[in-house]
Amino acid sequence: MDVRLSSEQLALRDSVAQVVDRLGPHTVRDLDDTERAAKFDAAVAAAGWRELRVPVEGRVPLASGVEAAVVAEELGRGLADTPFLGPTLAADLRRLAGAPPAGTAETVAFSRSLLAAAVVDGGVPPGTVAVDARGATCALVLVPVVGGHALAEVALGLVAVGTDLTRPGAAIDPAAVATPLDSPGSRPLADDDLSAWTALGLALDCADLVGTMRGAVGLAVGYASDRRQFDRPIGSFQAVQHLLADAHVVMDGSRSAARHAAWAVDALSPGDALAAAAAAKAYCARAARTVCETTIQVHGGTGNTWECLAHVFLRRALLSTDVLGGEGANLDRVLAHHGIGGGRGLR
């Protein structure tokens, strides 16, 4: 056992951090700066980070879940308003199905409150949403076929900012038509494939949540050191210190669980990888909400102001939480892995 990041992984982390720090949003106002956002998007595209799960040969992806998580964590920390989760998950679905990489920007559509990839059986389920859809032209959905599920594409509705100000989604019209992918070499996705894919999605959510928590704790610690009341920095009050200490501690515990989930994606069987990812997701989701709420609290009135980045962190964390399920759904997955409860049809 040695769970340190390799020097390449550390270098990858540093290069993502550099791009994020140079071109990512640093204020709420920056989110409206389309010129910056376009440059940021171009830099991320040029770096090839969205293609980490494209196969190099057979079904072997270019990079493991760990590299993908390293990227996700830094993007989360920097509130990156450029797609990563959507295209990465789309590429992984294509890889697992043996379909060729997408020709255009693509994401995945989710239904059941974002709990799972949308399954189109007859019609698009109501409430189906393509996540992280900025710049995408279509979204992948699943269609039941003999032996599992096949991939199909649906057109996107209007891409509109929702909860997460950095990763807008697009509603899918219930009347939209799912067009099967035209890929001769492909095969249906078996249950194990979908478990492995869900494990990746959860691991990326966890990494994004860890990054978001790091960013939020950093913001709050900085503010607590600068802001003065009663003639002293508010960070000198023990009540504030203890809130921030707790935030740091759950962030660090989340980091350990998230790293394991990222490793498990390619190192463990699909069932074990999914259980590892579900345990990590339950932990990270609960931690992230507490941490982001703490950041708002420590900022006082300022923290309740649109102009303060605190709510942008919270919003991003809430979307990461919903994608593939938050605490409840993932605790059910954990229990099912231990033979308790049915997992309520969760993969």
């Binding site: 340190r4 023990q238 921030l244 394991h260 229990l335 033979g339 409860g341």
Partner: protein, 382 residues
């Protein structure tokens, strides 16, 4: 990946071999003792269990060879913890913090005289730090040690001293210099417990067990000057070394203890699922998630040490994570077995009640938060 390391939670071949050897050994040598935290019975078999683990090469494996260790990487302790938990065996005796403190501060003579006996389980030790008026504020301690020829004479009152009734030795902190600032006048000794000047009184815990706590009264107890651990006045840094190690789940082997408790709870629920409602099962799920997180966190910390990152304020982070894990397991035990228990089997209630102590022992959660705020987050002094 091109470089030697890249995140790998799996066993290397040598680690695997060690794990399988231990697993096979446990098939025959699991003493099936109850947990130390819930049953005084444990203590009757504790010394034999420690010695049996040690004699077969499964205890203290990460310590230096000259004190009985095998100089293996810290990950081997994690393997021991996982396998003990997996086999339902009692956890590894937790005394690593004493060993680390003595290794770091004592001279060669003291190390050679005392460490092998601690490590091989032949000598029982307790830790006499806290006093009625010196808990979190340990430097307020008043127990005194006065030089008398080749000896020191110790007078004072220690409290919450764990396992003090079984101990042959007490690592005691006492004031040897009353003129200097209070942190500077404290020295540490290896004091023999079985002598007229020492009185031990059991102090039952809220879960009813009597071995965990004790009061120790020193009334003219004698300790050879040669048993001083470190130099005169080095008691405070030694105590800080010990408590910082006492905060680490890996040093204590507690991740394994929680894994075993969780395993037992899961087995109980699986055996009769109809008896348990959604809320109980949800508490159990959190216990699974937290104890798994702690196991992985320990893996991460120990791996980071391979970079030579030493032991610093992160111990407080780990102590808080360990505490929350133990208390989540405690809540699951309460939920599943808890208050409805009748006298005959109240183990789960005891597990729950014991878990409340984790946020107090080894430095309270509030003290850990103070340390995280100042040493890690560098918030302004309060």
């Amino acid at each position: 990946m091109g470089s030697a390391v890249a995140v790998d939670f799996a066993d290397a071949p040598d680690e695997r071999e060690f794990r399988l050897r231990l697993r096979a050994w446990l098939d025959e040598h699991n003493p099936g003792l109850p947990a130390s935290s819930t049953d005084d019975e444990y203590w009757a078999g504790q010394a034999a269990w420690h010695q049996s683990l040690f004699d077969s090469g499964f205890f203290g494996v990460t310590w230096p060879t000259d004190i009985g260790g095998q100089d293996l990487a810290s990950v081997y302790d994690v393997i021991v913890d996982e396998e003990l938990a997996g086999a339902g065996a009692p956890a590894r005796p937790s005394l690593g913090y004493l060993v680390e403190g003595i290794l770091e501060h004592a001279d060669d003579d003291v190390q050679a005289r005392f460490l092998p006996g601690i490590v091989n389980g032949r000598d029982r030790w307790c830790q006499g730090f806290s006093e009625p008026d010196a808990g979190s504020d340990l430097a307020a301690l008043r127990t005194r040690a006065d030089r008398d020829g080749d000896e020191y004479v110790v007078t004072g009152h220690k409290v919450w001293t764990s396992y003090s009734d079984d101990a042959e030795w007490c690592l005691v902190l006492a004031r040897t210099d009353h003129e200097v600032a209070r942190h500077k006048g404290i020295s540490a000794f290896a004091l023999p417990m079985r002598q007229p000047g020492v009185e031990q009184r059991p102090l039952p815990m809220i879960n009813g067990i009597t071995k965990e706590f004790g009061e120790v009264l020193f009334d003219g107890a004698r300790v050879p000057a040669a048993n001083m651990i470190g130099r005169p006045g080095e008691g405070w840094p030694l105590a800080m070394t010990i408590v910082s190690h006492e905060r680490e789940p890996h040093e204590l082997g507690f991740a394994g203890r929680y894994a075993k408790q969780v395993k037992d709870l899961v087995a109980g629920v699986c055996a009769d699922p109809g008896r348990f409602g959604a809320e109980q099962v949800r508490d159990l799920a959190w216990a699974i998630v937290e104890s798994e997180m702690l196991r992985l966190h320990v893996c991460r910390r120990l791996s980071d040490r391979l970079d030579g990152i030493v032991h610093g304020p992160e111990g407080s982070v780990d102590k808080l994570l360990m505490t929350w894990t133990e208390q989540a397991v405690g809540h699951a035990a309460l939920s599943i077995g808890g208050a409805r228990a009748t006298g005959s089997d109240d183990t789960l209630m005891k597990v729950y009640l014991y878990s409340r102590a984790q946020s107090v022992m080894g430095g309270t959660s509030q003290i850990q938060r103070n340390l995280v705020a100042s040493r890690i987050l560098h918030l302004p002094a309060s």
